[in-house]
């Protein structure tokens, strides 16, 4: 049989029963779509983690209040004690301090909820906060309790309606007090693109505002709403002299904390590399879980595909019997059914991939972020198309191996 005639047979088969084709491809469409979605969500998670920690150099060491019930002491490392570390510790070059508050921030009539960090110069330095416009405030500003603010890119974009440069020297309201905007940070986030809104939960500098530490700390005094001591809201980041001094620096810091407040367990001291690694591992676990879900979906839709094909298999087996009895050789029959299964699967796969184009839009109504990726599309199309082809082709392989009489009498 000429290839063009085999193609025509496939065409006639597909067009003569569009409903069957639709049912068959439905499972493939859903399978492809789900896999792409799930991979995209996983990738976005990993990218977020990478973004969050991209500001940390590998030489940086975070010193944060340890979480968990094991911590009983209320002893706190004071700012001055922490900032004294570079002087007494050989491997520590500088120490940054930061505290967090949640607040509304308003410029004129526009306001949004945002995370505000109170920081010192060293913190900005270690975490690579770079002004796009204006400058950062200094430690002197902090000592003077100057109410200066530096805005993250998205925050400035939102409050000043896209005119970021205009933010400089404007007044913003934080916790009811006026702050002068002295700088706007360069954009960091690679994954999300320019966001027109500000996420209050985000830990990306793009979505935050920064004020001098000594100004911020008075807003955190006492006990926070959740009942956590304000001490938990202060964390430090130390910079080791170089990559090789990270390990000894950690030991030094732990000893220093023990000497200063009597217990080293109150603070967890971790280097950026391992923080990033564990966060990424968590994100990867999430992706793997999501992919497992997608594969289950695909298996279920694969069973659906099989089922639809099984219903059609009696008709198709008789057809194969007829073809054999008038002299069609097995390869011709197999080629026809393989092409048909490929066509239907590819159709479903591409449609599912096309459908995934609406995912970013659909997910923009939720907190879930999505990152389209070639990997996801290839995995989605590949996996479901292969499932489709196998389930469409397998019955034909079986039927074409029968004697013509058995295929004709198939029930």
């Amino acid at each position: 049989m000429r290839p063009v005639e085999i193609l025509r047979s496939v065409f006639l088969s597909v067009t003569s029963n569009k409903f069957r084709v639709f049912l068959t491809s439905l499972g493939i469409i859903i399978g492809t779509f789900t896999i792409i979605l799930v991979v995209g969500i996983g990738k976005a998670g990993e990218a977020q983690v990478a973004d969050q920690y991209s500001r940390l150099s590998v030489e940086s060491i975070t010193i944060a209040r340890a979480r968990g019930s094991g911590v009983t002491t209320t002893a706190v490392l004071s700012k001055d004690e922490a900032l004294a570390m570079p002087e007494s510790l050989q491997n520590v070059e500088s120490v940054g301090v930061s505290t967090r508050i949640s607040s509304e921030i308003a410029a004129g009539a526009i306001s949004t909820a945002v995370t505000i960090q109170g920081i010192n110069e060293a913190y900005a330095d270690i975490t690579h906060l770079e002004p796009l416009y204006g400058t950062l405030f200094t430690d002197e500003d902090s000592l003077m309790r100057s109410r200066y603010a530096v805005l993250g890119y998205n925050v400035a974009n939102y409050l000043f309606d896209g005119d970021i440069e205009a933010a400089i020297d404007q007044t913003v309201l934080i916790k009811g007090a006026s702050f002068t905007v002295v700088g706007v940070l360069d954009r960091i986030g690679g994954s999300g693109g320019i966001s027109t809104s500000v996420s209050a939960d985000s830990t990306s500098a793009d979505d935050m505002a920064f004020i001098p530490y000594d100004v911020a700390i008075k807003y955190t005094s006492g006990t926070t709403r959740s009942g956590v001591s304000s001490a938990a809201q202060v964390s430090f980041v130390a910079l080791a002299n170089d990559i090789d001094s990270v390990k000894p620096a950690i030991t030094e810091i732990q000893e220093y904390i023990e000497d200063t407040i009597g217990s080293a367990d109150v603070y967890s001291v971790t280097d950026a590399g391992s923080v990033l690694e564990s966060a990424q591992a968590t994100a990867r676990t999430m992706s793997a879980l999501l992919i497992a879900v997608a594969i289950i979906v695909l298996l279920v839709s694969g069973i659906g595909i099989m089922n639809v094909l099984m219903v059609a298999v009696q008709e198709r087996t008789r057809e194969i019997g007829i073809l054999k009895s008038i002299g069609a050789a097995r390869p011709v029959i197999l080629a026809e059914f393989l092409l048909e299964a490929t066509f239907i699967s590819a159709f479903g796969g591409l449609l599912g991939a096309g459908l995934s184009a609406i995912a970013p839009w659909a997910l923009s109504f939720t907190d879930i972020s999505f990152m389209p990726s070639v990997d996801g599309i290839l995995l989605g199309i590949g996996f479901s198309v292969i499932t489709g082809i196998i389930s469409g082709f397998y019955p034909a392989v079986k039927a074409s191996g029968l004697k013509p009489i058995d295929a004709l009498n198939y029930e």
Binding site: M1, L12, N17, L323, K324, S325, I326, G327, A328, K403
Partner: protein, 224 residues
């Protein structure tokens, strides 16, 4: 005259163990090229079984079968397909048309399988449909045709490849006697053109119009 069908001592049974049915119990049959043979016999005697073996639709259990000089024992699937396609035009009791194809494509198929171009297949298929009186119905699908018309499409499909051997399993069984008579006349014309015809029938009157009658009873061919 050359021998087109030569069967010796053919056995065929279905099932196994307790439920085993011996259908053919040592059938020998020779048909010369150009013959018009009617196979007559009661229902369940094994006529269709014999016909399926002749048409390579089913496989024999034991015995030898030579078709147009080719011993079919232990040949490749390819060769069987080729013989079915080039040497045998098979007309089934149940027509066995492909429902999703129209009359034309059903008739074209044996030619397309041979590798003919779609143009030449179409020309030949249309001419054959014309010949069986369905020239104006080529666009219809089987379910849009009457039983007699479907039978004629099936006949056209068996004829289109110009195979030397036509096998027909009760071609008149489902038709009224007038239409049946027309079909029979058609076979006689084909036979006059040199085709070898083997036809199963229940009807002694129809059978009497063939050149030779073979009686099958209880899995054996009765001596003439």
């Amino acid at each position: 005259m050359s021998t087109i069908i030569e069967m010796k001592d053919i056995y065929k049974s279905y099932g196994r163990g307790e439920g085993k049915v011996d259908v053919l119990k040592g059938v020998s049959l020779t048909v010369e090229a150009g013959e018009f043979v009617a196979i007559l016999g009661p229902s369940g005697s094994g006529k269709s079984t014999l016909m399926n073996l002749i048409g390579l639709i089913d496989t024999i259990d034991s015995g030898t079968y030579t078709i147009d000089g080719v011993d079919i024992h232990n040949q490749s699937d390819r060769l069987y397909a080729r013989i079915r396609n080039r040497k045998i035009g098979f007309i089934f009791q149940k027509f066995n048309l492909i429902a999703k194809y129209n009359a034309l494509r059903n008739v074209e198929l044996p030619l397309l399988i041979q590798g003919e171009s779609s143009h030449s297949a179409k020309t030949r298929a249309l001419a054959t449909l014309e010949r069986v009186g369905l020239g104006d119905r080529w666009q219809h699908r089987p379910n849009q045709l009457s039983g007699g018309q479907q039978q004629r499409v099936a006949i056209a499909r068996a004829l289109v490849g110009n195979c030397p051997l036509i096998l027909a399993d009760e071609p008149t069984g489902a038709l009224d006697s007038k239409t049946g008579q027309e079909i029979l006349k058609f076979f006689q014309d084909l036979n006059a053109e040199g085709k070898t015809i083997v036809m199963i029938t229940h009807d002694p009157h129809i059978a009497s119009q063939a050149k030779r009658i073979i009686r099958v009873e209880d899995g054996l061919i009765q001596p003439a």
